[in-house]
């Protein structure tokens, strides 16, 4: 392998030994404490850890409100082969639902539990009925109040009335009605604080409903009055925007939004997203879509985002590994995180795409500085076989992401830079031919049309 220039010996050794020997992250069995990160705070916030199973209780503790329930249900549904985790998730979901007033969800959860958790978790119809009755009463009361306010035409009261309605519907799981109610307050908002409140509520319901187009529009609406935005609200809006972009598969934009989120967010937005998630989503999207310069300036040197990365040291490590070309360990981390990321309600259907993109970027970055690369060494670095590597490289070359050609006989990859002069000549000749052909066809068609026009004119006279 001949890299261009003559680097010092240690670097060559390091590159050769990219197969990953004495990088301490190799052990994945112990608790997530990476030795060389001295700045790991003794934060007792639980972390999505590598290799280990997801600690459902700790995970659930990160969130509150409806999103906690939905996330737990999602975990229960998707952790095949792990009945213990499933039951744990269902149990926690059940407890959380019982604290609220959503009988529909309650019925679903009880059905899923199916008596496996003992008599405490059987169907409590009495509770359901009493909650429903209370709900009807409350609804009537709210309606009466609202009508009274409407006749009195007091803007502020009407607004509060609709807000209460929205909260009521949300608590009972009627998301569509909740959204409509919140949106109705718009006509009665007088200060920008009101507008922001409305936007935040609308965003919350939209995220729960999965309608992310609304999220984007309400975020931009809220950001139109920047003076009323305190840092926490601004951070919340950024997160929401990031989520919307993530759902729309616009990973670059999502990454940018997550990276701009202020660290004041803390756990203030638990009803939507936890700070660990901000770090994970932002880090992975950035890795998959940013180029090297942007990665360095916006992620690695970003003091603000560092606070988030502290919470998920694995993501921080894997970003650093990627940047310093330790691909084997980077891909190791990714592999370990994968199982738990698949249980995340927002990220699960993007995991494969993001992982593919990160892997492709790693391959491209690996081959970039070299004139020729030995495929055997590269296969070791990426922990794959030469045949598999050849296939991956072939796909990347066909896609024009790597400019190189494979010598399959000797298993070497040679960089190939297009000959500009020849390419230009070819293009020139081709363009000339196309122009020739198109103009001739045009003249012919014009002639035909003129002929037809003349015919018609002749017939008219």
């Amino acid at each position: 392998m001949e890299p261009e220039g003559s680097p010092s010996r240690p670097m060559i050794d390091e590159i050769h030994s990219n197969g990953g020997i004495n990088l301490c992250d190799g052990d994945v069995d112990d608790e997530p404490s990476i030795d060389d990160t001295t700045t790991t705070t003794t934060n007792n916030r639980p972390i999505i850890s590598s290799g280990e199973q997801l600690d459902v209780e700790a995970y659930g503790g990160l969130y509150q409100g409806r999103t906690k329930i939905m996330r737990l249900l999602f975990i229960a549904e998707n952790c095949e082969g792990n009945p213990a985790m499933r039951l744990e998730a269902l149990r926690m979901a059940h407890d959380e639902i019982k604290k609220g007033e959503n009988t529909q969800l309650y019925r679903e959860v009880v059905q899923k539990i199916d008596g496996e958790l003992g008599p405490n978790y059987a169907m409590d119809s009495a509770w359901c009925d009493s909650v429903d009755r209370r709900a009807d009463q409350k609804k009537e009361k709210l309606e009466n109040e609202l009508n009274a306010y409407r006749t009195n035409l007091i803007k502020e009261s009407i607004r509060m009335g609709y807000n209460d309605f929205g909260d009521f519907y949300y608590a009972h799981g009627a998301l569509g009605d909740a959204f409509k109610s919140y949106v109705r307050t718009r006509d009665y908002c007088t200060t920008s604080k009101h507008i922001i409140h409305m936007c935040l509520s609308a965003i919350l319901v939209s995220i729960e409903m999965g309608q992310f187009t609304h999220v984007t529009s309400y975020v931009s609406k809220a950001e139109q009055s920047p003076e009323a935005l305190d840092p926490i609200t601004a951070a919340k809006l950024r997160c929401a925007a990031g989520l919307a972009h993530l759902e729309a598969k616009k990973y670059k934009l999502a990454a940018r939004k997550f990276l701009e989120t202020g660290s004041e967010l803390g756990s203030h937005y638990n009803e939507v997203i936890a700070p660990q998630d901000v770090a994970t989503y932002g880090g992975l999207c950035a890795l998959a879509s940013f180029d090297r310069a942007e990665l360095k300036s916006k992620v690695i040197d970003n003091v603000n985002f560092r606070n988030f990365l502290e919470l998920v040291p694995e993501v921080r490590e894997l970003i650093n590994d990627f940047y310093s070309s330790h691909y084997a360990s980077c891909l190791d981390y990714l592999g370990n995180l994968k199982a738990n990321l698949l249980l995340d309600i927002h990220l699960h259907d993007h995991v494969e795409t993001l992982y593919d993109q990160i892997r492709n970027k790693a391959l491209i970055q690996y081959t970039h500085p070299f004139v020729s690369v030995d495929l055997q060494m590269m296969a070791n670095a990426f922990k794959t076989t030469v045949a598999g590597l050849e296939k991956e490289l072939e796909a990347l070359i066909t896609d024009d992401q790597i400019q190189a050609r494979i010598d399959s006989h000797n298993k070497i990859l040679y960089a190939r830079h297009a000959d500009q002069r020849n390419a230009t000549f070819q293009r020139v000749l081709q363009t000339g031919n196309e122009f020739d052909r198109d103009v001739r066809s045009m003249l012919l068609r014009a002639n035909l049309i003129k002929h037809e026009y003349n015919l018609r004119a002749a017939r008219k006279h």
Binding site: L393, E394, I397, T398, R405, I406, D407, S408, H409, N410, Y414, D419, R421, N422, F425, V428, L429, G432, N433, F435, D436, R437, V439, R440, S441, L443, L444, R445, A446, N447, L448, I449, H451, E452, A457
Partner: protein
């Protein structure tokens, strides 16, 4: 008999100068009916006339001769007369009566086909085309007839020589459609796929108020040639295609569009499967040979794609990637492609390896410079043509009248009313 003799005398007498000829023309037009009634007795008269001097008269008499339907023996007798006439006639005289000339040539073609010897008609019709054309850019009704005979006689090269000329003036749209369609078929026969694509494209995108069968057949071949030459096919027709074509063409060519979809997946087995299931349809359109070429072009395209990613590759790997049955077959394909100049490679039989090379063209040779230079000249003359056409158009009174009507009421700078119409 008298009138007939009289006509002959007139012809012989009045064929010398331009003024005489126009008088002769008038006389002949008047005598047309009587000539027709005596069609059976006209053949011996032809011997009294000289085709090169008395072209106009000869033409009228020939036309009258052939106006009735002829049997095979009569055809056999007439064909040499007509052939001789066409070679010797004077262009200025026959251009006075072009419809008659066209009619005679068409009947000549019919007779030649009746006799089952299309080859005999190729040379005469080629001469006829040249004599009838006003200029080399003019498309006459005889062009498609000529191309049809070339196709039937399998004289593709002769057909190609006519096709090389650019056409800009057209008498009848139907002529253009047939000309381009037959021309496309000749080019396909000669494996000049780029030109075939161009001709078929002209048919498909020509202005037409309602769809016609020629366009449908042309579209089918267009799809196939596009697959062979470009490796892809897009179902969207350009904007300037007539709306009738855009709406209806696809409905009539469904099997071909599905073939194109199957081709784009890149899986040879699927493609062959599809071809096999729909063999009768392709056969009935006489396109089966072309479809088979499409299938083999897929192998070629896959191998070409390999040249972009690999420097050397074993024959076994090539066979696997391109889904051929054995390295031997792969070797044969690669060899054929090297010989056709479609890829640049060397085969090392000892290792069973193929080494792909870069295109050796350096664009530094004299021929290349000449080629570029002639391209530039061509394009410059085309540009000039475009400019002339635009100037003509902007002076055309009908155009000005229409454009004048659509101008603004007030000219903002002068606050004067702008004249609504150009009164010419």
């Amino acid at each position: 008999m008298n009138s007939l003799e009289g006509v002959v005398v007139q012809i012989q007498g009045l064929s010398s100068s331009a003024g005489d000829i126009s008088r002769l023309h008038v006389i002949l037009k008047q005598a047309e009916e009587s000539l027709r009634s005596e069609s059976t007795r006209l053949s011996p008269i032809l011997n009294q006339l000289d085709p090169s001097n008395h072209s106009l008269g000869y033409l009228y008499i020939l036309e009258a001769c052939t106006s009735a339907s002829v049997s095979k023996e009569q055809a056999a007798m007439l064909v040499p007369y007509i052939a001789r006439f066409i070679s010797y006639c004077a262009p200025e005289q026959i251009r006075l009566a072009p419809e008659k000339f066209i009619a005679v040539c068409k009947r000549f073609k019919d007779q030649v086909m009746l006799l089952g010897t299309p080859m005999r008609g190729v040379a005469p019709l080629q001469a006829a085309v040249r004599k009838l054309q006003n200029s080399s850019e003019h498309l006459t009704t005889l062009h498609p007839e000529f191309l049809l005979l070339c196709l039937l006689a399998k004289c593709y090269k002769t057909g190609l020589s006519i096709l090389e000329e650019d056409i800009f003036e057209v008498d009848q749209p139907r002529d253009l459609f047939l000309y381009c369609y037959y021309g496309g078929m000749i080019c396909i026969g000669q494996k000049r796929f780029r030109k075939a694509l161009e001709l078929l494209h002209n048919v498909v995108t020509a202005p037409m108020s309602s769809i016609n069968a020629i366009a449908v057949e042309a579209y089918k071949k267009y799809i196939l040639v596009s697959l062979i030459h470009n490796g892809q096919f897009s179902t969207s027709l350009p904007k300037y295609t007539s709306s009738a074509a855009q709406r209806n063409l696809k409905n009539h060519c469904q099997p071909y569009i599905e073939l194109a979809n199957s081709y784009s997946t890149g899986k040879i087995a699927e493609l062959e499967q599809y071809v096999q299931t729909n063999e009768e349809k392709f056969e009935s359109d006489n396109n089966l040979g072309l479809v088979k070429q499409v299938v083999s072009s897929m192998y070629k395209r896959n191998i070409q794609r390999l040249t972009q990613t690999y420097l050397t590759l074993s024959l076994q790997d090539i066979a696997n990637t391109v889904q051929l049955n054995s390295p031997k077959e792969a070797e044969m394909h690669v060899l054929q492609m090297i010989q056709d100049g479609e890829i640049f490679a060397t085969i090392n039989q000892k290792d069973g390896m193929v080494r792909f090379l870069e295109d050796p063209e350096q664009y530094k040779s004299c021929e290349m410079i000449e080629r570029i230079d002639s391209s530039i000249q061509r394009i410059m003359s085309l540009s000039r043509k475009l400019t002339t056409m635009e100037e003509q158009m902007s002076c055309d009174p009908q155009y000005l009248a229409k454009a004048g009507r659509e101008r603004q009421r007030f000219d903002f700078d002068d606050f004067d009313t702008v004249p609504q119409k150009f009164n010419i």
